[in-house]
Amino acid sequence: MRHLGVLARIQLSDAEVERLTGQLDVIVDNIAKVSQVATPDIPATSHPIPLENVFRADEVGDMLTLEQALRNAPDAADGRFRVTAILGEEQ
């Protein structure tokens, strides 16, 4: 559960961890239910209406102004978004 909190970037309190641990059972029950019928011969449906090759022509369209891009930023400097120190590595 702690690991899930880290992956999801949500700082969970002990109480939350406890409560959510119980509720993971919901997922487990759902898995059990779904596994009853999800046999290997059934194809998965990723999109309810099957389409393919939906493309955009390579033409420049509307872009945001710098002001629009930064308007909602909690913090910005130098025309860029500002965040506090990063510890982890780039992926």
């Binding site: 990723s46 393919e52 939906v54 369209g61 590595e89």
Partner: protein
């Protein structure tokens, strides 16, 4: 940082067999991004854009924004896949790779996972001595680039010790193709050379396809090098490290050599290799540990529900296949023979990335030797000074015209270099510059003789020496005449005339 112990390279190779693998990211030079209609900073049109000015909502992951696939990026990816000898998947699918990082607008990267656009291919890589090594390709998949972080505070602009970071999302969403090799066995002591030649070949391929600017220093082409060692005679692969973002051809070679030496020293001392990413440091020529491989690999891939499968038709694939340029190795061999360059001359030109320019200059009528001379000489020099690529300076056809003027005796080499400066400065065609600057060779003997007589009269001692048979003394007079002519004279003809006049 503790200094790594290194084993001598040859000693390392005696004990261990190196196994290589590469992930090369190629930024495509489409007009727009992979999933948005924002202009693409990896296209030369947009190099100078200010931070966060090439932005569509989806590049920032704004609420409600949606990606739409760039058709040209797909075509380029298929072409690249075909040039790598890959099969093209139909359908292929986009997937989300979920991880949090501030340079990622959505906190997932749209990539491809189990159904990449291209898979199972190989490329022939030619080493300096002409040996061909076949590198097996596992896959090439489409994805989007992330934004750029700059770290402020702390000593080096590096991530460690920085006080805060600034994010520019211009690069977020730039179309990428990631080319992943299979493990490369049998490289042995040529591993570093193969590494460099492989990246060079990928660069040649994308340049010949015209799908990327492929400038490593700009990050258009980025190489992650995987290296592992296994003791001689052992079947099982050793633990590998992944050295990230090695951003020059030479560094690829050095990084592979370094990792072989570093890992060998650890293994020989009875240690184990940690599976991790490593960072290459250009300044020190060393690698340092990055993140360990375990947790961060929990990417929770799943099919991207906002995008649909890409299912190229057989017709499209065959159309793109028939439009493929010659494979780089074949083309190089052909050009080298046609042009009659020495190995060194050819390698020099190839390494500067100006084979296409030389080819176009020759096609416009110049001899291969003169075309090579201009592009590897003067133009490469000016490009360095101006921080540009030679190809950005002038058109090959104009270089051919310049050479025609030299061949016709209208310009000396020295004058031609002045004309070239005018061409780079955008002053017009070579002939226009010759006319405007009045740079043509003075071929009127009368004018030359008048200048020579004047110079001889001014330097009677020299005249005496020449008459004494010390012909080399003529140099001083020739120099004076050339100066008087502002360089616009054929020095050989001047010499002839000086000796003639002195004898009289």
């Amino acid at each position: 940082m503790a200094k790594d112990t290194l084993m001598d390279f040859d000693a390392a190779l005696e004990l261990f067999e190196p196994v290589l693998g590469f992930e090369v990211h190629v930024e495509l030079n489409t007009k727009t991004k992979m999933f948005s209609a924002a202009a693409n900073p990896a296209n030369s049109e947009n190099h100078d854009a200010a931070p966060n000015t090439l932005i569509a909502p989806v590049d920032l992951g704004l609420p409600g924004s949606l990606p739409v696939v760039n058709e040209t990026a797909v075509r380029y990816s298929i072409s690249l896949g075909l040039a790598l000898g890959c099969s093209i998947a139909s359908p292929s699918r986009f997937a989300r790779k979920n991880y949090f990082y501030p340079d990622l607008g959505k906190n997932y990267q749209i990539s491809q996972y189990d159904e990449p656009i291209a898979f199972e291919g190989s490329v022939d890589v030619e080493l300096a001595d002409g040996t061909i090594v076949t590198v097996p390709i596992e896959r090439a998949h489409m994805e989007e680039d992330a934004g750029k972080l700059s770290h402020v505070g702390g000593a080096t602009g590096r991530i460690q010790g920085a006080e805060y970071s600034l994010v520019d999302y211009n690069r977020a969403g730039v179309p990428l193709v990631e080319i992943v090799t299979k493990p490369i066995f049998g490289a042995e002591h040529r591993a570093p050379e193969i590494a460099k030649a492989y990246v060079q070949t990928i660069r040649d391929i994308v340049l010949s396809l015209g799908i990327s600017e492929a400038r490593m220093e700009r990050g258009n082409l980025r190489c992650d090098a995987n290296v592992s060692l296994r003791p001689r005679g052992q079947e099982k692969l050793g633990t590998r490290t992944e050295t990230k973002n090695v951003n020059s051809m030479r560094s690829v070679e050095r990084a592979v050599r370094y990792e072989i030496q570093r890992q060998a020293a650890i293994l020989a001392a009875g240690g184990t290799i940690t599976q991790e990413t490593r960072h290459w440091h250009e300044d020190t020529g060393t690698t340092s540990p990055g993140r360990p491989k375990s947790d961060a690999d929990d990417y929770r891939y799943f099919p991207e529900p906002d995008l649909l499968p890409v299912a190229p038709s057989v017709e499209l694939i065959e159309e793109l296949r028939s439009a493929l340029p010659e494979p780089p190795a074949v083309r190089r061999r052909r050009l080298k023979t046609e042009w009659g360059f020495t190995d060194l001359e050819f390698q020099d030109a190839a390494n500067s990335g100006i084979l296409p320019e030389i080819e176009a200059t020759v096609a416009a009528g110049a001899s291969p030797a003169s075309a090579r001379k201009w592009w590897t000489g003067e133009l490469t020099r000016i490009a360095k000074v101006e921080g540009k690529e030679p190809a950005e300076l002038v058109e090959p056809a104009a270089v051919a015209e310049l050479q025609r003027l030299v061949d016709a005796g209208t310009l000396t080499d020295k004058l031609a270099r002045q004309v070239l400066e005018g061409m780079v400065a955008g002053e017009g065609t070579p002939q226009q510059i010759v006319d405007a600057r009045g740079l043509a060779v003075v071929s009127d003997d009368g004018a030359l003789i008048a200048a020579i007589d004047e110079a001889l009269a001014a330097q009677p001692d020299v005249l005496a020496k020449i008459r004494d048979g010390k012909v080399q003394a003529a140099g001083a007079v020739i120099g004076a005449v050339m100066k008087a002519m502002r360089g616009q004279a054929d020095a050989a003809r001047v010499r002839e005339l000086v000796l003639e006049r002195a004898a009289q």
